[in-house]
Amino acid sequence: MEKFSGKIWVLGDDIDTDIIIPTEYLALKTVKDMAPYAFSPLRPELAAQIQEGDIIVAGKNFGCGSSREQAPEIIKTLGIKCVIAKSFARIFFRNSINNGLLLIENDKLRDVVNEGDEITVTINESIEHNGSQYPITSLPQNLVDIINAGGLVKAMRKLNGLD
């Protein structure tokens, strides 16, 4: 099973899509242009601090609000390897998988970690933090396939014999 480690950023409950990317920046041309403003209503400095391979750990209802697909695209563009939350809003969950952003549901981790900790994720198995293991429900194979393909567009290109 694929295994990776990363430094974590810790966020609270109900991180809505307007916090992930406020409407006023949605008109910018590309997701790359929008990325510096990610999480700006809450933590304006955060986008600049995130490093490739970092992990977000959040509370419940992450990604609630509108169906804007830019939200997961931006998180991915910032280099976030995966988001671990107590729960995810439905449309955000789908949009993330489709854009190849890994989401993991776990209702205990958020309450024991501190920002800056390092954790290790073994996909479909567990999260390791300070020697403790937190099991993760395995994602169905079709979703793993989409993520592994790098998102739905790439998966479909493969299906159509293009890549």
């Binding site: 609630c64 439905r90 479909m156 159509n160």
Partner: protein, 413 residues
């Protein structure tokens, strides 16, 4: 063991019994794309390498957010949409007939038991006729257009039973607002809502639509009503046995059951800036307002306009207050002309626009500024949704909204 409505719909679609939590691939009966997302859907579709739509007749394109255009780049969406329709042989396109969710049911695109997806979070609306419908992003829409299928996780169901007779000044909107207040903004996330009881059985399809439309504001995946004779009449069909069977079985498993007595409901409003911040209108009475908006896929239907007209007949909108009326569809507009509703609203001083999303999507249609207060019949009151972040948005029923317009302040209808 019995099944809930959503379990039956999915079972009928995939041809075997399913249980909540399971991931299955469904065959899609209909999809809806609106003008805001068509450029993205079109480019993703081609990037994926598809050369034809799996079944062009099952796709519907509706221009509603940008009608009429308010910014110079808006018509680009129409141009791209028109090209897409032409290139892939789509026939179902509405360029100025009203709001997508209204047209999907009104124009007969959705039938009981159908599995439908749309590029809009309020796609939950079609549960009013017993269809499973839900909002998705534009990338997934592109893949459905190519494959005709989508994976879904079978949701658990929350049953909401309402019995008894509603007070005269209470509308379906008051019920759904109260429910969202009770459930909270994520109280139904991933879950299906199922409405039952003699109160909803007595409701028109239009009223049911207001409720299924707003289910997303509690996070729900879908919100379902059992198809009945009213549904059949609305959809202009005869119900089949399979459709009649779309009822939650007595021994079905629900993750939660809520019961409400209709007589207990009072007019309520969702206060700034969360849909679950719900309070009785009586507690808010007296607050001065600047504008009233009656319209949207939540409450822009004939019965809503008629309810407003009944309140406003022989009265006039209060001085310095604007009443903006945006019917949900061309058909509704014409019916309201025909039965005299429009004349009453016009006489009362309403600003009546063409059917479209209007103010609800916050691009035009009555934008407000700092310190202003609006009472609106639509579905969201998020910070900044209708102008600056210092605009107070109160969501209400058409009856409450009309009464406020006449009074110039919040009043109990």
């Amino acid at each position: 063991m019995g099944s809930t409505i959503i379990e039956k719909i999915v079972r009928n679609n995939v041809g075997r019994d399913v249980k909540p939590g399971e991931i299955v691939t469904v065959n899609v009966d209909r999809v809806m794309i609106h003008d805001i997302f068509i450029p993205f859907v079109a480019s993703k579709f081609e990037e994926m390498g598809f050369t034809k739509i799996w079944d062009p007749d099952k796709a519907v394109l509706i221009y509603d957010h940008l009608v009429p255009a308010s910014q110079v780049d808006d018509t680009r969406h129409f141009r791209i949409g028109n090209e897409f329709v032409e290139k892939y042989g789509m026939k179902n396109i509405h360029r100025s007939d009203g709001i997508c969710h209204q047209l999907m049911t009104e124009a007969g695109y959705v039938k009981p038991g159908d599995v439908v997806f749309g590029t809009d979070s309020h796609t939950t609306t079609y549960g009013c006729v017993g269809a499973f419908s839900s909002g998705i992003g534009y990338t997934e829409m592109a893949s459905i257009l190519g494959t005709g299928t989508l994976w879904i996780r079978v949701p658990e169901t929350i049953k909401v039973e309402i019995t008894g007779n509603l007070p005269a000044n209470v509308m379906a909107k008051d019920i759904i607002l109260k429910l969202i207040g009770d459930l909270g903004a994520d109280g139904a996330t991933y879950k299906a809502l199922e409405f039952t009881g003699d109160t909803v059985e007595k409701m028109s399809v239009a009223s049911r639509m207001s409720m299924s439309n707003m289910a997303i504001e509690a996070g729900a995946k879908c919100a379902l009503f059992t198809p009945d004779e009213k549904t059949a009449e609305y959809c202009e069909i005869e119900l089949t046995d399979k459709e009649r069977d779309l009822v939650g079985d007595a021994d079905a498993e629900y993750c939660r059951v809520l019961h409400y007595q209709a007589e207990d409901f009072v007019p309520v409003m969702a206060c700034p800036s969360n849909v679950d911040n719900v309070k009785p209108v009586a507690e808010l009475a007296g607050k001065e307002i600047d504008q009233v908006f009656i319209g949207s896929c939540t409450n822009g239907r004939l019965e809503d306009l008629m309810a407003a007209a009944e309140v406003l007949k022989g009265k006039h909108v209060a001085p310095y207050v604007k009443l903006i009326v945006t019917p949900a569809s061309r058909k509704i507009y014409r019916q309201a002309v025909e039965n005299g509703t429009m004349a009453i609203l016009a006489e009362a001083g309403a600003i009546i626009t063409h059917p479209s999303c209007g103010l609800c999507c916050g691009r035009t249609g009555g934008i407000l500024t700092d310190g202003e207060t609006v009472v609106a019949t639509n579905n969201r009151n998020f910070l900044g949704r209708m102008g600056t972040s210092k605009v107070g948005i109160y969501l209400a029923s058409p009856k409450s909204a009309a009464a406020c317009a006449a009074a110039g302040k919040i009043v109990v209808p």
